[in-house]
């Protein structure tokens, strides 16, 4: 888990380094807040790099450790995703978007009693929502998503549910250059 976290952080730093040489692109880095329907709050970090007017790629790490499991008996679970988004009305401040995400999920059951239960899974999800860009480099996005892979009881991780809502608050670290 630590290796994956480290890899994600290194990737984000590399992305920041590469994009810092570009004067026309934007890199939004910030916080992601997610609630799964009938399950946990999972929060974390996110970064979105805008490739062109309409296309963006990104990565996120969000976890119940920073949400429901912070001060309760909720299961500690981590999600690592990379995503590709398509933006509508790119010239406007309020932009609808659709996004495809793939990644990896892992839950910590904290006892060898449950060693025979599946606690990992691939993530394949899509979400759609609205992003609003303020005059300052701040951007807020809200979306509703659907997980294509969920646990069935017979197989898969039991705490992967279908519907989630997420909000991201990000800061465009290159905005002063790009405008």
């Amino acid at each position: 888990m630590k290796k994956i976290s480290s890899t994600l952080i290194v990737c984000l730093l590399l992305l920041a380094t590469i994009t810092s040489k570009s004067q026309t692109k934007s890199l939004d880095i910030g916080l992601r807040f997610q609630k799964t329907q009938d399950l946990y709050y999972e929060n974390g970090i996110t970064a979105q790099y805008q490739l062109s007017k309409r296309w963006a790629i990104g990565g996120s790490y969000y976890t119940s450790r920073l949400g429901s499991a912070l001060s309760s008996n909720a299961i500690k679970q981590d999600n690592f995703i990379v995503s590709a988004a398509y933006l509508f009305r790119p010239e406007r401040k309020l932009r609808p978007f659709v996004r495809a995400n793939v990644g990896y999920f892992i839950a910590d059951y904290e006892s060898e009693l449950f060693d025979n239960l599946s606690n990992t899974s691939a993530i394949a999800s899509a979400d759609a929502g609205l992003a609003y860009e303020f005059n300052c480099p701040l951007k807020v996005s809200l979306s509703l998503g659907y997980n294509g892979i969920t646990g069935s009881g017979d197989e898969g991780a039991g705490t992967l549910y279908p519907v989630f809502y997420q909000a991201s608050v990000t800061w465009n670290i290159f905005k002063t250059h790009s405008r």
Partner: protein
């Protein structure tokens, strides 16, 4: 114009779905035959069979057996059969509210209605002087017991001695249950593929109203487990959970293990069972006869439960 067409299309789809199923007389849903405990409660409830226990009888263990959502007392019949002529403990099989009767009664009942007969039997036994009362739940029966433990019900009553949970449901196998609020009114009801033998004991049709209630009590208990549940003093809890279960996700056992502590702050007992059956202790009425492993799982669980019931602390 486009909007109008879209609204009309949605309205047609919505209204064209039948909200009431075509029930046949051979199903429990029809109301042509109720659960046997309705007709002969003395064969199922200890409080009715022996309302005036002697001092010795009052001290003997009584275990209240509680079936799951859509099921009936049938779910614990095999435990009674296994116990046979034993007199060192008694089994009181409770029929959940809204269950074992007909589709409309089922549809109208809330999860608090489901729970009421458990409370009634517990309080009747307490009034009659029984002092050694335990619970055995299967599936949603477990969820209801957990809710009673979490909401402090036992603070004003005698404390249960043991709680046995067989395939408890805190997380459903079918995660689409989380969408029943949105999809339920469109679908009206869902169906279950019961065997012919099961049709007399398990509802075939599941009205969305009852699925909403199931979702509701599951969510209540999940949050209570997240906050932490402490067992009453002198009470033990054992979970028996199939490792593969497409009705009650096995991760339910993880949540209960993390969420429930003994009165002294210790961990509860969890037995993960190599089975892919939901409520693996009920083998009767299934499509295929239980394998040797299934029979062994059932016997082992019943033996462990009985041993705990009669063990002198």
């Amino acid at each position: 114009m486009r909007k109008l067409i879209l609204i009309c299309a949605i309205a047609i789809v919505y209204t064209s779905c039948s909200k009431e199923p075509a029930i046949v007389d051979t199903d429990l849903d029809s109301g042509t035959f109720f659960d046997q405990s309705v007709y002969q409660p003395e064969k199922y409830l200890v409080s009715v069979a022996r309302p005036n226990p002697t001092a010795l009888e009052a001290q003997k263990p009584v275990v209240i057996a509680i079936h799951g959502y859509g099921a009936s007392t049938f779910e614990w019949d095999e435990f009674r059969t296994w116990a046979g002529a034993r007199t060192d403990f008694s089994i009181s099989q409770v029929l959940l509210g809204g269950h074992g009767r007909d589709y409309q009664t089922f549809k109208a009942a809330s999860w608090k209605d489901w729970r009421q007969p458990i409370v009634n039997e517990y309080e009747a036994l307490e009034r009659q002087g029984y002092t050694n009362i335990s619970f055995a739940g299967s599936s949603t029966g477990c969820t209801l017991i957990l809710e009673m433990l979490a909401d402090g019900y036992f603070e004003g009553h005698i404390k249960p001695k043991h709680v046995f949970l067989v395939d408890p449901i805190v997380v459903p196998g079918d995660k689409s249950l989380s969408l029943v609020g949105a999809l339920g009114p469109i679908l009206g009801y869902t169906t279950v593929d019961n065997t012919k033998a099961e049709e007399k004991y398990y509802y075939h049709y599941r009205p969305y109203e009852t699925l909403k209630e199931l979702r509701s009590v599951i969510n209540v208990v999940r949050k209570e487990l997240e906050d932490g549940v402490k067992l009453p003093a002198g009470c033990s809890l054992t979970v028996f959970k199939s490792e593969k279960d497409n009705v009650a996700d096995p991760v339910s056992a993880v949540m209960i293990y993390k969420g429930v502590r003994t009165s002294a702050g210790g961990r509860i007992d969890v037995n993960m069972v190599a089975s892919s059956l939901h409520v693996y202790t009920r083998l009767s009425g299934r499509d295929i006869a239980g394998s040797a492993k299934d029979l062994e799982n059932q016997r082992t669980t019943f033996t462990n439960m009985a041993a705990a019931l009669v063990r002198v602390k």
